[in-house]
């Protein structure tokens, strides 16, 4: 659960007032668009202090708060 707060804070910056549960779809549901993904990446990178490798980002890996957390945690193990 290490990055859950970072992700929620980032989402709150991008979409103030957006309320989603951790397993709710962000992109498929239409809460976020392709530019929001870019902004989410930028916010997360700034907040956590890493550069997220895009070759590891898939539509599925960024489609919910819990999946993003899982992705970032997995990334940490790789790095």
């Amino acid at each position: 659960m290490k990055y859950i707060e970072h992700i929620k804070n980032s989402l709150n910056i991008i979409k103030p007032g957006l309320v989603v549960n951790e397993n709710e779809s962000l992109f498929e549901s239409g809460f976020l668009d392709s530019f929001d993904l870019v902004m989410l990446l930028a916010e997360l990178e700034g907040m956590i202090g890493i550069t997220i490798p895009m070759d590891k980002v898939t539509p599925e890996s960024f489609d919910s708060v819990s999946k993003i957390n899982e992705f970032l945690s997995g990334l940490e193990k790789v790095v």
């Binding site: 910056i13 979409k15 239409g30 668009d33 993904l37």
Partner: protein, 354 residues
């Protein structure tokens, strides 16, 4: 494709932009997105202003303006040009080629070789390679690469994915067969499987323009465009730049370590350029990123526009710069050139009065 051509030098670069400027802040009312999102996007992508043509200005209009400026300032004459390589995705007509239109307008010699290359963001790399090959094989002295687009005419003003980014510009690059020791080392790659990532679906033979194709519809992100307009799958393009392009550029840079004074990359947008620089470990002071915010992304024209922007205030006669140029985008296509830019005869950006 990999090739090294010797004895050819870039002798001048001119950018021509329409004097009509559109500001992102004035356009946000066209988009469905909220103010907060627009402000963040502006900062992240570098959206500030972009030069766009009026409704009837064509690539050849901007190019003629540039050539007349060069002829009048006695940089070279129409008789000097033995090859004209025109890179555009927005030709004046489907038939004939825009290079033929220019040939007529400029009264070039009948022996001048003219060809259109339909390409965008990697088009300048292809154009330089083609023109250098031509000079090397024919032993002629001068060739020009005319690269640019008036793409704003084919982008919906209600498409936030594309319109704030797009700028119109045409550039003229003069190449001379000097017999010098300078190399133009190029690598060019394509992946046509990704051709739908950036496209104008209608207007060609696959889907002719009609009342139906000109009817705007709303996409899932609230952008309004028709099939006659450019559509960019932003996420696919972004992933391409951050994977394929980054991996390619890292290898190219390592092979051409001496060409490190500047990295003139296609000006996709500020965020993409800064990420490419970060991931490849390039010194950001050597990677200009200002073109999108000052002029907009003008497809094949952005690399020469960046060169103009960087060197226009320099003492051109004393330039001695080993540079890497890199293009990437529509096709999908990507490539790079390592070469030296020395003692240019001209290097500036001029305005086309609408």
């Amino acid at each position: 494709m990999k090739a090294t051509i010797s004895g050819i030098d870039i002798k001048g670069v001119l950018g021509i932009v329409p004097d009509n400027i559109s500001y992102f802040d004035d356009e946000v009312g066209n988009y469905q997105s909220d103010e907060s999102s627009n402000n963040k996007l502006k900062k992240l992508m570098g959206y500030e202003k972009h030069h766009v043509v009026s409704s009837d200005t064509c690539v050849s209009d901007l190019a003629v303006k540039g050539f007349l400026h060069l002829f009048n300032t006695q940089q070279f004459s129409s008789n000097d040009i033995s090859g004209l390589f025109l890179i555009t995705q927005t030709p004046d007509y489907i038939i004939p080629s825009t290079s033929s239109v220019l040939h007529g307008a400029l009264e070039l010699n009948e022996s001048c070789y003219c060809i259109d290359i339909n390409d965008g963001c990697n088009g300048y790399i292809k154009g330089l390679y083609e023109a250098a090959s031509y000079l090397s094989n024919t032993n002629n002295r001068f060739a020009v690469v005319v690269a640019g687009d008036v793409l704003s005419r084919r982008v919906s003003q209600k498409d936030r994915n594309s319109y704030p980014l797009v700028g119109d510009a045409v550039t003229i690059t003069l190449l001379e067969n000097t017999g010098s020791t300078n190399n133009i080392s190029s690598e060019i790659y394509n992946s046509g499987a990704g051709h739908q990532a950036l496209m104008i679906p209608a207007g060609g033979m696959r889907l002719k323009s009609s009342l139906k194709t000109s009817t705007p519809t709303v996409d899932s992100e609230g952008n309004i465009r028709s099939l006659d307009d450019l559509v960019m799958k932003g996420r696919d393009v972004f992933t391409f730049t951050q994977t394929t392009v980054v991996k390619f550029l890292e290898k190219f840079i390592n092979k051409h370590k001496d060409y490190s004074d500047y990295y003139f990359l296609h000006q996709a947008n500020k965020f993409i350029l800064e990420r490419i620089a970060t991931i490849t470990g390039l010194d950001k002071s050597k990677v200009p990123t200002n073109i999108v915010s000052e002029y907009g992304n003008s497809s094949s024209a952005t690399i020469p526009m960046t060169i103009c922007s960087k060197f226009s205030d320099s003492d051109l006669s004393k330039l001695n710069s080993n540079v890497t140029l890199c293009g990437f985008g529509v096709g999908l296509s990507w490539g790079a050139i390592a070469t030296s830019i020395n003692s240019l005869n001209f290097c500036q950006i001029i305005k086309y009065e609408e």
